[in-house]
Symmetry: C2
Amino acid sequence: MTASSTTLPVQALRRFATDALAAKGMSAADAATVADVLLWADRRGVGTHGVARLAQYCGFVDKGELDPRAVPERVIDLPASARLDAHRAAGPVAMMAAVEVAMEKARVASVGMVLVSRTTHTGALGCYTQALARRGFAAVALCATNPFMLYHGAAAAGAGTNPISIAVPGGAADPMVFDMTTGATSMGNLAQARRSGQQLAPGLAADERGRPVTDPRLARLVLPLGGAKGSGLSLMIELLASHLSGEPILAEALERTPLGKTHRQNSLLLAIDCSRFVAPALLAQLGQRLAQDLHALPPAHDGQPIRLPGERGDAEAARRDHEGLAVPAVVMGELGALAASLGMTSASYWR
Amino acid sequence: MTASSTTLPVQALRRFATDALAAKGMSAADAATVADVLLWADRRGVGTHGVARLAQYCGFVDKGELDPRAVPERVIDLPASARLDAHRAAGPVAMMAAVEVAMEKARVASVGMVLVSRTTHTGALGCYTQALARRGFAAVALCATNPFMLYHGAAAAGAGTNPISIAVPGGAADPMVFDMTTGATSMGNLAQARRSGQQLAPGLAADERGRPVTDPRLARLVLPLGGAKGSGLSLMIELLASHLSGEPILAEALERTPLGKTHRQNSLLLAIDCSRFVAPALLAQLGQRLAQDLHALPPAHDGQPIRLPGERGDAEAARRDHEGLAVPAVVMGELGALAASLGMTSASYWR
């Protein structure tokens, strides 16, 4: 909305992203899946995980880190769980496949867990837990990433900003969707601050030797959320998502092995068939009742509403579906360059 | 070790706690289970969840909030999950029963989830995840509690300090055990500061109207870890552990219903049979390798070791098993008063 951004319809960006990914060799269905996940984030106000990632995803294809034609393979198949080897498929393709498998398992066994190994950038985790919760499943998603976070007590990177998302059917936002990084902030926010030159709040970032900084030009590492809590939780996500798959990310990166220098991620997705434990109508009623109770609390700041997980994103998405998405100039430039490299005419999409 | 504490053998405290709980009507086996969980925390340096809770637990019996004779009942029994109604049994009794059920399910289905509803104070969550990890299961435990924490954006209590624990076999501490509250600190730490009069660090606590305080006499509420992150994660734990059981804690408390004024907790325990996904020898090797990598990072403070989840607790427990437990004078007074009320001679245990 500022002079340095261009407002575009969501559908135009979705079509552009789909076509660009298809031009990189992805099937139409997979390209649409990735575009949907990117736009899911943009629409909800999480620009760090939206079309600003499109050029990066295409770069992963060029480097051979993302195989646009890979089909996630079910390498372990058990009564209540499975492991998918993504074979370097795009994260959203692998995760949407995992959503289907987790539901299939949970329908039979009440609980379904899917390990997803060897994906690329997973995208906004809340997209997958929300997809499950909308179909009646409570969901937990964990994602293990490369270490760009300080390990508490160390003067160097030793943890990923490994996110966690939880969604449960029913409530104010229906479903309530929670999504957080184990860092005090995200790498995407550091990158945005670097581009804009805006000072960082204290407690968010450190330089490459772990010294706290507020100058975004010096910021290299994210500080862990709450010190030992954030880096400990991040470590346990690596153990669950990566070690249970036999596919370590952190050890390879810290040892600077050839594999450790590549981009790859692992995830764990858990689905719980709520209807096996509580009547759906009661679950919805409990969520709505609690939302009312929390909204009725005295607000900390007059005029600022008390928000439940997912509420702000729902409101932002509704507004942007109507008004369009404000794409920062720097991202517009990246999309234009990407289009040129693919022989596409980006302007034809924005009309 | 200071003048205001008394050092006692772990076994003496365990015997005393067991006998006191048996005197309140608990079976010998259940009393020993609760005493073990309390001493597990004390031995690992988590005094807020140790014998300092014994008088409180006995008080719950007097108020009818803890039924010392209750037997947790399996009210839902599915291929990969179960729900235990604890019928107000002591938290450790219900949780140790849940550990057995989660293992039974995970052995068959690869994953086992147990909802535990209507327990009393759950104790240190890490005790249960460690018990599972020692037998080869990765474990996640969540616990929903009464709201003594600020909900981010509100000027009043609106969240529990709902803890989360994760343990995975293999590693430096074997198993690695992670345990955190979703608060910036715990209610137990606030109570300790109130007793000692020590000023609180900024960002930990608030008064009853949500205004940040450092004077422990004014501290009534815990601030959420990382603002919206801590209170959002806490809320999702209430949804998973309480709403899936149809047993809301937070809504009842916020509405000040008669039930909402009583003490009760709910938990969710997840066990994953690691051997179904990765060879145990490889899992152990991956954990040890990562522990070495993290220990080899440059330390933030010279001479301060870089610690992995569970390492400090393991070391503290080994030391205390050898040297005994330093029981603060105020806790010694409580134990003496409890003994007197039960017709026990506490001094005979300490000899």
